[in-house]
């Protein structure tokens, strides 16, 4: 699985990141499931889910949310409905409007890739919710909270907070495609996943995680992260390593 893929809704993602292209590339890359995590928004998840059902690949409903400390967190939910609830909360805690010239276009699309709307809020910005509160909100909706690209110097919990607070109830941490071995980072023993953070089609699956689970669902992934009931993480790595 590659749990961290952006669509053309994210201002920084390529405009070719439309539903059918994403699921097509994901299948080509040999993935069984792909997680859609746009910055602070979820408007394209439903279209990718539809495209995924047609193509026969599981799509996990997610978001890459920005906390007040400018930490990126992956929030993964069991259903689109729960994700949309979370998206409402996030919308109420974001401010500003996007300038496509500066930050890029934020395009809402149908499953065929036809634009249906432009998202106007400033998705590149940060919410005013601190990381402790954000993790609680994600758990309230029975979602999983995974700290994004903790190996990076920007927007990661380690860059912003220096270390992972002991009392913070994260479900896991993500290492990016270019990260070194996990021993290089102070991860407090949290479960590690690797994902591509793809912004371009060819990046999809460039890092991935293999789980030992019954089906590609958030509940099963959660059990694997917690190593419960026989579920576990089998391996995680970058494609070219």
């Amino acid at each position: 699985m590659d749990l961290h893929v952006h669509t053309c809704l994210s201002p920084c993602a390529d405009l070719s990141m439309v539903p059918r292209t994403i699921v097509g590339r994901a299948k080509q890359a040999g993935l069984n499931a792909v997680g859609i995590c746009d910055h602070n928004a979820a408007a394209n998840v439903q279209a990718v889910c539809e495209a995924g059902r047609e193509a026969g690949i599981a799509v996990i409903a997610g978001m890459e949310v920005t906390t007040a400390e400018e930490i990126h967190l992956l929030a993964l939910f069991e259903s689109e409905k729960k994700l949309l609830k979370f998206a409402d909360l996030v919308r109420n805690h974001l401010s500003g409007s996007n300038d496509p010239e500066l930050f890029g276009d934020q395009i809402v699309v149908g499953k065929n890739g036809d634009p249906t709307a432009l998202e106007e809020s400033l998705l590149i910005g940060a919410t005013d919710l601190g990381v402790n509160r954000m993790v609680k909100e994600i758990h309230q909706l029975e979602g999983l909270a995974i700290a994004s690209h903790v190996d990076r110097q920007t927007f990661s919990i380690l860059s912003q907070l220096g270390f992972i607070p002991a009392e913070l109830d994260l479900d896991g941490v993500e290492l990016s495609q270019r990260a070194g071995p996990e021993e290089h980072y102070e991860l407090r023993g949290l479960p590690v996943v690797r994902c591509s953070d793809a912004h371009f089609p060819e990046e999809i699956g460039s890092a991935f995680t293999t789980f030992f689970i019954e089906e590609a669902s958030v509940a099963e992934i959660g059990m694997a992260l917690a190593a419960r009931e026989g579920r576990k993480i089998l391996k995680c790595r970058a494609r070219d390593s």
Binding site: N132, Q160, G162, P165
Partner: protein
């Protein structure tokens, strides 16, 4: 200069460790990335930041900083203030933005890491 004097002159509002303001401030450092503060701030320095998460207390304690000033009227999270009280780390709130606040600290003679930089 003592932290208590600085607090009085710059009208800083004290949010924790009010009994620990009699320390000598040896210098100042400004950053919002805690990884950067951990790498660069020095003992006895005053830290200017907008971060309000409880980790600022741990960083300040680890680096033995003189205290933390939050800018723009930002308030510490409840947990942050509690931890700061427990660890005797003064947190002070300034109504000023970072640039103005740091300018005034500089005017008071609080040096940075490279006080000699302007001469070189």
């Amino acid at each position: 200069m003592h932290l208590s004097e600085i607090a009085q002159i710059l009208a800083l509002e004290i949010r924790s460790a009010a009994k620990h303001l009699d320390t000598d401030v040896l210098g100042g450092y400004a950053s919002d990335l805690m990884s950067d503060v951990m790498a660069n701030a020095e003992e006895g320095y005053l830290w200017v930041t907008l971060q309000t998460h409880a980790n600022i207390v741990a960083v300040a304690a680890m680096k033995e900083l003189a205290g933390i000033i939050l800018i723009n009227g930002r308030e510490p999270e409840k947990e942050t203030a509690e931890k700061a009280e427990e660890k005797n780390i003064p947190i002070l709130v300034s109504r000023l933005p970072a640039f103005e606040l740091i300018g005034r600290l500089y005017e008071l003679g609080i040096p940075g890491l490279r006080a000699d930089a302007e001469e070189s």
